[in-house]
Amino acid sequence: MEVFIAQLLNGLSLGSIYVLLVTGFNLMVLVARIIQFAYPHMVVLSMYACWEVLQLTNNMFLAILSCIAVSVILNILSEPIFRRLTNRESIDINASFVVSMSMALVITDIMSHSLNYGFPIAFPASWVGESLIRFGLIILSKGQIYAFGGGIIAVLIFFYLLYRTKQGRVFRAMAENRYLARLVGIPIVKTSIFSYFIAGLLGGFIAILFSVFLGSASPHLGEFVALKVIATSLVAGLGNLKGGLVCGLLLGVAEVMVMGYISGSWSNAIAFIMMLLIVLIKPQGLFGIKI
């Protein structure tokens, strides 16, 4: 029973991070109308930036700032590339997917070649933190608490922005119907750029939580995470924010449970098999597509 609770808590922490990733991904799908496969890769690159700053300055505040700044800059730099695709008569979502896959290739290769000579990075113990709560086999580390708590706070802030602010109304209007949104005077390009900015902010925050939770990163981490995030988004329903919330948490819990009771090397494959079956049986997703 203690193992189960420990795994459940671990799963909820990991699930919180997946929820944030899926939320950022879905924001791009709804507002910018792109499939941003490279979003998790940008998060991992931000983790590398954070690590580099920590190595150079040993200043946590600077590391956090650099993480967020790199994520925001990367996202905003990608906006003009995708804008060329969305300016055509019909929004070419498949072309955006191909372009974002190319970006992911480029980012992964840059990390493999030039950052830490391609070796995985490990964050210092002062960054990751020690275990704070011990109860038998249940051990909660600072990373897990931050990931879970930070995830909840970030989701609450994001949904507040989306449903209680004017900017959020603008995002939802663009997600609903881009042309009608333009007709009522919503600045499409400016709002689209702002959505990239929000996604970048979220990405930077995710990178911090991921680094504290995992304590390490590798150049190919983005590929694993990207596949999980997009598959989770499909399972929930493409563009479905609330569905993404539920499915992200479920994925985190399922992955950790499988890792805890079956050999770790098979856990990823089993999680993917489960998602694959759901996608094949219900291609519209469990909660319905929202685009």
């Binding site: 997917f97 190319s102 970006m103 992911a104 480029v106 494959a269 049986i281 291609p283």
Partner: protein
Amino acid sequence: MSPLVHYFLAFTAVNILMCWSIYLPYRVGQLHFLTVACMAIAAYFGGFAAREWDWPFVLVLLVGIGIGTFIAFIPSLAIGKAPCFTVVIVGLTYVFIVKTVIENWEIVGGTVGFFGIPRVEHLLPITYLLLIIVGFFIYCIDHSRLGRAASVVFVDKDVAATLGVKVKSLGMFYQIIAGAIGGMAGVLYAFLIGSLSPEFFVFHMIGTLMCMLFVGGYTTMWGVVISAPILGGLPLLLPSTVASWRQVIYGVLLILIILLRPEGLITRRMLPSLKSKSKRQTIW
């Protein structure tokens, strides 16, 4: 023949086959990366059967094609008509699952790899003969009612359905053929190279194939015939310090081609004008 030329020709042939296996489902608007999983499974099966059971090459090739066909058939029942994005994720997930299974299965070498696949005499000419046969087959499909139906489905699935095209059956057909070609490519790759590693069947390979297909031109089968040797040969032409960055080069090329010339270098519209130019030259 020097080993460099041998491997260049071998990889070019396999790349062209794999690009065609992605080109075919994309005729109906589906990026079907499941063919990479078909290639991996057929390659490992072929290598294992040849080394452990002493199966002859022809039998291995036929069974490899059968394996690729079967693996592509099962998910095609669900994703025959699915949107491109769903097909991509299913394909990528399959590739990842297959890679994990191979890495954890010691009988096929696990992460170390599989070695000692027996050599086949004159395999390179046989490979190119098979390439010509497959190319002819694809040419026939492209210039048949199926090819014309696929063109309509690519533009608008609903209009195709109103014109009487069975969109799901057509999607399934192209996916299954692609799987068969992937299986063939896998077996040929295993015997041409003589060893296998799960690290080959990864995201980088998919990126390379996509680059060859989109840069060459996805509207016609001839684009990859030009782009595969050029892009595949880049690491041989460039200095080693630059060649090690080839994935970045492929990624940037792919982005540029999608933004500037989305149909690729060789488009369907170019082909009739190229044909008429060559006719005028022969008259003179």
